[in-house]
Amino acid sequence: MSDHPYLILDSHLDLGFSALQINRDLTQPAQTVRVADSELTMRSFGSCTTTFHDLHKGHVGIVFGTVMSRIDPNDLWTGTGMYDQTQCHGVGMGHYSVYKAMERDGIITQIHNRADLDASIQAWQNPQADTPIGLVLAMESADPILDPEQVPFWYDLGLRIVSISHYGTSSYCHGTGTEGGLLDRGRPLLDALKKAGIIVDLTHTTDQAFWEILDHYDGPVAASHHNCRALVPGQRQLTDDMIKAIVERGGVIGAAFDAWMLDPNWKRETPAWGQTTQATLETVADHIDHIAQLVGSANHSGIGSDLDGGFGQEQSPRDLNTIADLQRIPEILDRRGYSDADIGNLMSGNWVRLLKNVWG
């Protein structure tokens, strides 16, 4: 195993949401943010684990940062579930603008293409205190895209990976917690995404929608933050057949760090601060391991932690304090017998390969 920290790519972080809706200063250490957050914020969104400061500390040099807003009239909690798409567009552009403001301050640099990606990887081989974190713009629920004609607008902003649905039913597709497939408006949107060369993220689709998307869409796919149903039951996780289907299409699956997706005993109806998970970083490694055993290689998993994506430290692996602790995953994989090359691929190489394949 390498003596140097591995470059880590985290394929799913709701940083815009954490800044704008939870109202955090993400340039500060997570432990400073915790002191600033109110008790109500802590109870609603948990203790902060993820800021640009801690990403830097953990050599998490490249992230997929989301634009996150969906149709969800019942969401009285997050400030991102909306009544209509006009509102979703507004919220989504707010998240994008968080990243633009961070880029202006040199905290991040947005990755639009292969040259940007290469430059970020290069910079993180010998990072300095001011090395910016590379950010690929992602979207969780396609509602902020007002219609297929608006896909090029979003592509120009840098959008490179989109999940069609999230919780509930979006304007385009059924998502987590519902039953059903693609809606009528979903297929023209998929066609526009294909034309633009945007990856479709299969995370948060229903089972039916998962297969309908794969049937209709022959462009690049991935699952940005998704664990294995063989280990944790429930619609939110991927069946072995789904994993194989994604892998056959050259996709990558990011391991999620939400206790709800790691711990079969986690009770969703109980507040996070009212229970303790037994999940640890080893549990995350179990999911990476499951995929590797299933498909016979370590070339299709990555890290898609989702940390601070509406939950905090209380609902994360119990031995994780901040996102800098992702850097402890390599030693776990090393103990399990993964080669140095495999670990490098799992930490970032697999996602980098996928992006390069798509971007040419």
């Binding site: 815009g16 800044a19 704008l20 809706q21 939870i22 109202n23 955090r24 200063d25 340039t27 600033a36 109110s38 008790e39 109500l40 914020t41 109870r43 609603s44 969104f45 009239p73 969401d75 009285l76 909690w77 997050t78 400030g79 909306m82 009544y83 209509d84 798409q85 006009t86 509102q87 567009h89 507004g90 919220v91 989504g92 552009m93 707010g94 998240h95 994008y96 603008s97 968080v98 633009k100 403001a101 961070m102 202006r104 301050d105 007002l146 507040p271 996070a272 601060w273």
Partner: protein, 375 residues
Amino acid sequence: MAKHLIIDGHLDMAFNGLFYRRDLTQSVYELRNREDSIRGGVSAHPDSLERRMGPRPKHFTPTVALPEMRKGKVGIMLSTIMARVQDPAGNTHNALRTQANAYARGQSHLAYYRALERKGEITFIKSTSDLDACIQSWENPTEQTPIGLILSMESADSILGPDQVGEWYDAGLRSVSLTHFGANSYGHGTGTVGGLYPPAYPLMDALSETNIAIDLTHAADLAFWHILDYWKGPVHASHCNCRALVPGQRHLSDEMITAITGRGGVIGTVFAEQMLNPAWNWDDPRTHYATSTRPMKAALEHIDHICTLTGNTDHIAFGTDLDGGFGLELSPTDYNTIDDLQRFLNLMSDHGFSDEDIAKYASGNLIQFFKNIWS
């Protein structure tokens, strides 16, 4: 009396769209039927303490939506980008911890207006020709006539620095108040005592390169005079009443009114109990009523006062702020939805204003104000 075209000099439409989640293309009555029992934000999480305390009484019943604006011929509005750096203990939508977040919130408001424009519901007014075209379209309006938007900003925190003024100007920004509640990146606002901070001066230098007007509403007293000392460009007060009638720093003293109007500025009348009731002192929460006690005609006193001070009717306008963080409960007692502003014009007529003066109040003075700046 035939309906006059009305320009409302201050509305927070994007705030209503994104914070209260109001689909502003629906009628006010539709919005009332489905209003969230709890406002969005941190407190509504199923796990939160506040949620467990049950729904709070409504204090924010909506009164403004695009269909009622069309019905009342409120054909043009100044509507805000509204986000500020402030202790976020209270309202987490507008009061943000960092200026970067305030920029992002402001951009989300802008994107919301652009999405409404894309649907044909509103149209951005950036120039005299846009303004003329919009006025023209309201001479024979249809049910679909887009409402003209002159983009304004309440608290300049969404402008990250002088170099970003051009970006906001291109987006359509034509009026900006440097401060709002509390002390922000640029200076002292309502509820605080003090003047401008040093970053305000290079910001004003950049603003002076454009034809963006400075809105003196929500400047603390010292900040008000700091701005007037330094800034040579156009000024107005988009939504301010008179301190001679209602106490507190939030309102304009006679000296301030004279200073603004002396420089060609227009002052918008606010239609809110907290601005119309002399017993309500902004600076003393113990005087704050939960429901309104005063009718629309209370606003006439403020209009009269400004006209008496200036000796003419050239500096008065609507700047209602309706639904701007309060709702029907704190709006005038005889007001229900924004089309009632036409009834206010009737009250002006009963009060003795000529039809010509009423037209100036309804829209003429603000049209002239912006034409003077833009031409």
